[in-house]
């Protein structure tokens, strides 16, 4: 095991030594001694890697490479960083060291800090951060919990939920077996609510990302307008194999001329609703007939000659973001200024 600590816990000095560049020493130092005690004969703290908090903060690119190099040289099976308690720069350094080491060496890495430490928000998703009190009074207990957690990781034991493991939630959802049926839990929850007793919801209101809409078109009579849909309209036979659910692709297809029968050339593959009315007349999904009219009457500048189509049924948000970005880039290359987004 290798232990990463800062200049203070490394017994170099306080703030005046925060610019200490990374170095390594054999064996445990400072809190590392407690770490070794808690580890007992299950392992050995072979080395301690130390870096000043300021050095890490000011030269983070180089610092992390140097630290990784030092850590790798000991070939550890586990890395422990900190705990950083409420020290912000230290917490961020611990988080980054854990993240990169875990990624490059593939070994379990654990750190510890208190909830207010900015390192928590930055690294909770990628690193296991054990919750500690705000000061080093909690050192022994924190190190003990960190080492036990690290050993469980090392032994590939299944990691329980945050409330059991003592770590900050990483923000993912995993299924577990509850003790009671959902039917019992929902009536329990309602009765608690009715009696004014405390209850905890199992599904939280998400904090969504605000998307800033583009400014409105100044001059619609000059604008090139395109149609984009998640309604799953594709050429018959679905040549690009756009999935009817959990879609990962989009297509770009020529619009049909007025008077043509698009029902002969296109089909709707969306699995979320009864698409027969769209199949009868795709203009019901993409009002190309109306827009072509409007173009002739110069109510819009131009209807772009292609439409973009994907399928929104059960689409993963991550995929939706990526597909949206790619369609937007393509639309920009096409010189399109405004989009009519048809959702189903």
């Amino acid at each position: 095991m290798v232990h990463y600590i800062n200049q203070f816990f490394g017994q170099i000095g306080g703030e005046e030594k925060a610019d200490t560049s990374p170095f390594i020493k054999k064996g445990p130092i400072g809190p590392g001694v407690i770490l070794q005690e808690k580890l007992r004969d299950r392992g050995e703290v072979v080395a301690t890697v130390i870096c000043g908090d300021d050095y890490f903060s000011n030269y983070s690119g180089e610092a992390i490479e140097e630290l990784l190099h030092l850590i790798k040289s000991e070939n550890p099976e586990i890395l422990i960083s900190g705990p950083a308690f409420n020290a912000g720069r230290y917490g961020i350094a611990c988080g980054e060291v854990c993240r990169r080491t875990s990624k490059e060496l593939g070994i379990p890495c654990v750190t510890g800090m208190c909830g207010e430490n900015p390192g928590v928000e930055m690294y909770r998703k990628s690193v296991y951060i054990i919750e500690t009190p705000g000061s080093a009074i909690g050192m022994k207990n924190s190190l003990s919990r960190m080492i036990e957690f690290a050993i469980n990781l090392f032994e590939r034991k299944p990691i329980g939920p945050p409330e059991e493991g003592g770590y900050f939630p990483r923000g993912i959802r995993k299924n577990i077996f509850s003790e009671k049926l959902a039917s019992e839990r929902v009536v329990d929850m309602l009765m608690a609510k009715l009696s004014g007793s405390p209850f905890v919801t199992e599904v939280f209101n998400p904090i969504g990302t605000e998307i800033e809409p583009a400014s409105p078109l100044e001059e619609i009579l000059n604008a090139k307008i395109a149609l984009v849909t998640e309604g799953g309209l594709v050429p018959k036979g679905n040549p690009d194999r756009i999935e009817g659910a959990r879609c990962t692709r989009f297509g770009r297809y020529p619009i049909w001329a007025k008077g043509n029968l698009p029902a002969e050339e296109f089909e709707c593959i969306h699995r979320g609703f009864d698409s027969s009315s769209i199949n009868e007349d795709p203009n019901r999904l993409l009002p190309i007939d109306v827009l072509t009219d409007m173009e002739e009457k110069t109510q819009i500048g131009k209807l772009f000659s292609f439409f973009y189509s994907t399928c929104g049924c059960g689409m993963y948000i991550g995929e939706a973001r990526r597909i949206g970005r790619e369609i937007a880039e393509s639309l920009k290359r096409d010189g399109v200024q405004g989009v009519i987004l048809v959702a189903t």
């Binding site: 923000g171 577990i176 009671k180 929902v186 009715l194 599904v203």
Partner: protein, 423 residues
């Protein structure tokens, strides 16, 4: 209105010369049941198989699950609109076999099925891995289309249910439960306990994706007041044959509706179970808003509810119905608690577990992330067909599949212990 449910626990099923129950073992005369079901011209043949918990058998193309039950008083029969004289149900006596399920399977263009593993890693997710199963495997006739086939398969399962239910006649049950339900609209007659109701959303969009009430497709229904008794007598039956296995409620879970049972159990003790509103989930926004208004109007002005449990049936768009009713109830002073599935990616990541969220929805029970992958083992035997398009390849192979494919693992009316948790 009183209904007496008598439960008979089965410890084994075997084929035999006579369909009869002896000492907790159900014997099934395969040829007799087969010829009874083959009376329907939609089938050119039907296989009837039996499988037990622990066997390394995978049932594929699972479309619905029913339990055997039978009314044993007078002329009424369970599954009104399908079996017996058309009449109101929910009173008298009904016998139910437990620990045994009838599994409908079918493979045709336009149908979508799930799997049930009786053994191996995948056996822990579905309650139907733990029951003794009678598996119906019909072969569609050449001329029949998916809609006709589905209707016939439903009828076959319900016939099989009553046919097996008949074995309980005159036998003593293990357990009896009395459901005594009277709607108390008049507030003066209330029990002095919180008045609680249940808004039960069902999905009836189009053929092959519908719920039947007294044998009729509920697509054009307005919200209806129904009784627990009718549910246990099979008034509501699933017609979901082209729908994700995780997003529909199997007839078995409806017949044993866990939320309704729970509210019946607690009635008179901590709550006054006033009524159930059966509501469709329209396909357009305007219809959804309209239905929500109707549901809340009934809950508030007719049933005078203090609190309501709300569930949905279906995928993303039905979050609108769920949340709209929740929001309007809360704003009118009715407290709500919901069950909802989570629709994240397979690693449990994603900002939005639900498609629509209203801030009034502060009490939600999770029915699990439907996309999480589960491992299933290599099986020795397959029932229900030779292939299944949702899993592809050799249906016996080991696999890593989304949990929504396991029939019964995800259940939106609460008959599962699987839930999502923050990690």
């Amino acid at each position: 209105m009183e209904l007496q449910l008598s439960y008979y626990h089965i410890t084994d099923i075997r084929f035999g010369d006579e369909t009869i129950m002896k000492d907790g073992v159900l014997f099934l005369n395969k040829e007799e049941l087969k010829s009874y079901l083959l009376g329907d011209p939609s089938f050119s043949d039907i296989e009837i198989e039996i499988t037990h918990p622990g066997e390394m058998t995978r049932i594929i193309n699972v479309l619905d699950i029913v339990d055997p039950r039978k009314k044993v008083n007078g002329d009424h029969e369970v599954f009104p609109g399908w079996m017996g004289e058309f009449s109101a149900v929910g009173s008298g006596k009904t016998n139910v076999l437990t620990n045994v399920s009838i599994i409908e399977t079918g493979s045709m263009d336009g149908l979508m099925g799930g799997i049930i593993d009786m053994g191996g890693l995948g056996r822990v997710y579905s309650p139907y891995s733990r029951t003794h199963n009678v598996v119906l495997v019909p072969t569609p006739s050449k001329e029949v289309n998916a809609i006709q086939f589905a209707k016939s398969l439903k009828m076959a399962a319900l016939k099989a249910s009553v046919y097996l239910g008949k074995t309980t006649v005159n036998l003593p049950p293990e357990q009896m439960v009395s459901i005594d339900f009277t709607s108390r609209f008049d507030k003066d007659k209330q029990l002095g306990l919180p008045r609680v109701g249940y808004v039960w959303h069902v999905l009836s969009h189009y053929r092959l994706r519908e719920i039947y009430y007294y044998g009729a497709n509920s697509n054009s229904f307005y919200p209806l007041l129904i009784t627990p008794n009718e549910i246990f007598d099979g008034a509501v039956v699933s017609g979901h044959y082209d729908h994700s296995p995780g997003l529909k409620n199997y007839t078995h879970s409806i017949l044993n509706h866990p939320i309704v049972m729970e509210l019946c159990r607690r009635h008179g003790k901590e709550l006054d179970f006033v009524g159930i509103i059966l509501a469709n989930e329209p396909s357009e926004t305007e219809g959804k808003k309209w239905n929500a208004l109707m549901n809340v109007r009934i809950a508030k002005s007719i049933l005078h509810l203090d609190g309501v449990v709300i569930t949905k049936e279906g995928g993303g768009h039905t979050d609108f119905d769920l949340m709209e009713v929740c929001k309007q109830c809360e704003r009118s002073g009715i407290k709500t608690a919901l069950i909802d599935i989570e629709m994240l990616d397979q690693d449990g990541e994603g900002d939005y577990p639900l498609i629509v969220f209203e801030k009034e929805a502060d009490a939600i029970v999770s029915a699990g992330n439907i996309e999480e992958r589960v491992s299933v083992s290599k099986m020795e035997k397959v029932m229900g067909g030779m292939r299944m398009k949702e899993i592809g390849g050799d249906p016996k192979s080991e696999n890593n599949i989304p949990i929504w494919l396991v029939s019964g693992a995800i259940n939106e009316i609460g008959m599962s212990k699987i839930r999502g948790n923050l990690f």
